[in-house]
Amino acid sequence: MTLKRSPHSYLSETVANLKPSGIRRFFDLASQMENVISLGVGEPDFVTPWNVIEASYHSLEQGHTAYTANAGLPELREEISTYLRTQFHISYSSQDQLIVTVGASQGIDLALRAIVNPGDEVIIVGPTFVAYESAVLLAGGIPVTIQTCPEDQFKLTPVQLEKAITSKTKAVILCNPNNPTGTFLNKKELTAIAEVIKQHDLLILSDEIYAELTYDEPYTSVASLEGMKEHTLLISGFSKAFAMTGWRLGYAAGPTDIIQAMIKIHQYTMMCAPTMAQYAAVEALKNGENSVREMKISYKQRRHFIVQAFDNMGLECPMPGGAFYAFPSIRSTGFTSEEFAEALLMEEQVAVVPGSVFGQNGEGFIRCSYATSLKRLNEATKRMKRFVEKHAN
């Protein structure tokens, strides 16, 4: 029997045309090498706080191994609601305005699938997290990327936003603080953005996964700004602040109709987030504050360390306001960001991520995560200095 189609043609056009993540290539390259010091990791170097791990063990010992409610364990939703109220001054009903997801990534996916009609445009602010564009495409939407400028520290301006909006625009995805630049929009800057959102009656998908990790100014959630709650879908999770990446636990909070629509998709595709992870998250919210504070102090110290190290090697790097990434410019070296990252890996065994994988305006920059021990940071920056000096024009 002959096949009527080539195996490739079984794929949907959307998936077949999806670009593989640029990070993947670097992962493949770096994992084949030995003694690599990695600044390419987008996750905390801390192990999940012990009390959180222990709570998960305890839940298993108690026999909590069955499904939870689709929207998530009621106790966890209650804790999330309290956390958002006390920490960020936004009030959400744990009954119908919250959903527990499998990581913030699933939150983004559900949100886009819940709101996007074919042909709707979704604005993305580059350079940014690699998954947004693909998630928009998978939902049938059209990603429209705004290129923010290094001269503005990659901050989105209301003028740029205004220009990108068309009659087809449905939503804006904003990651604040940003991965990969560490850019942080404060209350004043967010208020200006919010005015445009309200004026055009758009929805903002606010990825607040790094909200706990701001170092110089307090965090303001865009949802807490006047008149913005109805225009915001807040997406966050436990991965970054609580060092729980592998637990895959996130949540979304927002207008009832959107959350209910997300629950509808979630119940048919995922059923619920892992139960033991949800019990762990309850403990993280109840008693995790000190651990978060300690990790944050460490990140802040390392942030100073790495920025000064870049300064010493002549790479321009503004002080990132949040997250745990530094985004130095490597333009002075004459390399493209891919060339720089690849040569650095080959010659000095230091892994960084080329800025270009996060969007075209990331070209000329590299992403360096400082969520790594001081010992490794010290060695990595020493090697990088040697590399930069060797290739100086």
Partner: protein, 164 residues
């Protein structure tokens, strides 16, 4: 105490060998500022010394034992437990002395070369002090964690080399 001073103390408590330059970078302060903070903290006695945390079990040919001794004592009029505690902590074998609530009064940590040496210290020096009513000696079989550091805990990074 200022926040930066606390941060500095936490850093050197974990690693007393961090040099001034690194401390300056971590805390975003100049080397002169770090130097003067250290001097001030030494002057007020917040920094009592700089020491290394050694896992002696990793040192070849090293033999030594640690014992924790519960001591019941009669407090002395006027100075309470302080006088007898001082008598005890002056012995060079004694590594730590704490006044405790509960079933006994002083917790004394001793380090010696052999069990015999520790036993001799307890029976000949500690128990014979006039205020000491009784002692209970517990030998440490294995140290898992000391001063907040998990002994033998390596720093292996279990994360992927590159991740989103």
């Amino acid at each position: 105490m200022k926040e930066k001073e606390r941060e500095l103390l936490h850093l050197i408590e974990k690693n007393g060998r961090l040099d001034i330059d690194t401390l300056g970078k971590l805390l975003n302060l100049s080397n002169d500022e770090i130097q003067s903070m250290l001097e001030e903290l030494e002057t007020v006695g917040a920094i009592q010394g700089y020491s290394a945390l050694i896992d002696w079990s990793k040192v070849l040919d090293y033999e030594g034992v640690t014992a924790m001794i519960d001591v019941k004592v009669t407090p002395t009029r006027g100075v309470g437990f302080d006088k007898v505690a001082e008598r005890i902590y002056r012995f060079p074998e004694v590594k730590a002395v704490y006044l405790m609530s509960g079933a006994y009064d002083l917790s004394v940590s001793i380090e010696g070369k052999t069990m015999l040496e520790v036993s001799r210290f307890v029976s000949e020096k500690l128990s014979t002090l006039e205020s000491v009513l009784s002692t209970t000696t517990h030998f440490v079989l294995k140290k898992y964690k000391h001063d907040g550091i998990i002994l033998g805990d390596d720093e292996e990074d279990k994360r992927m080399v590159v991740s989103p």
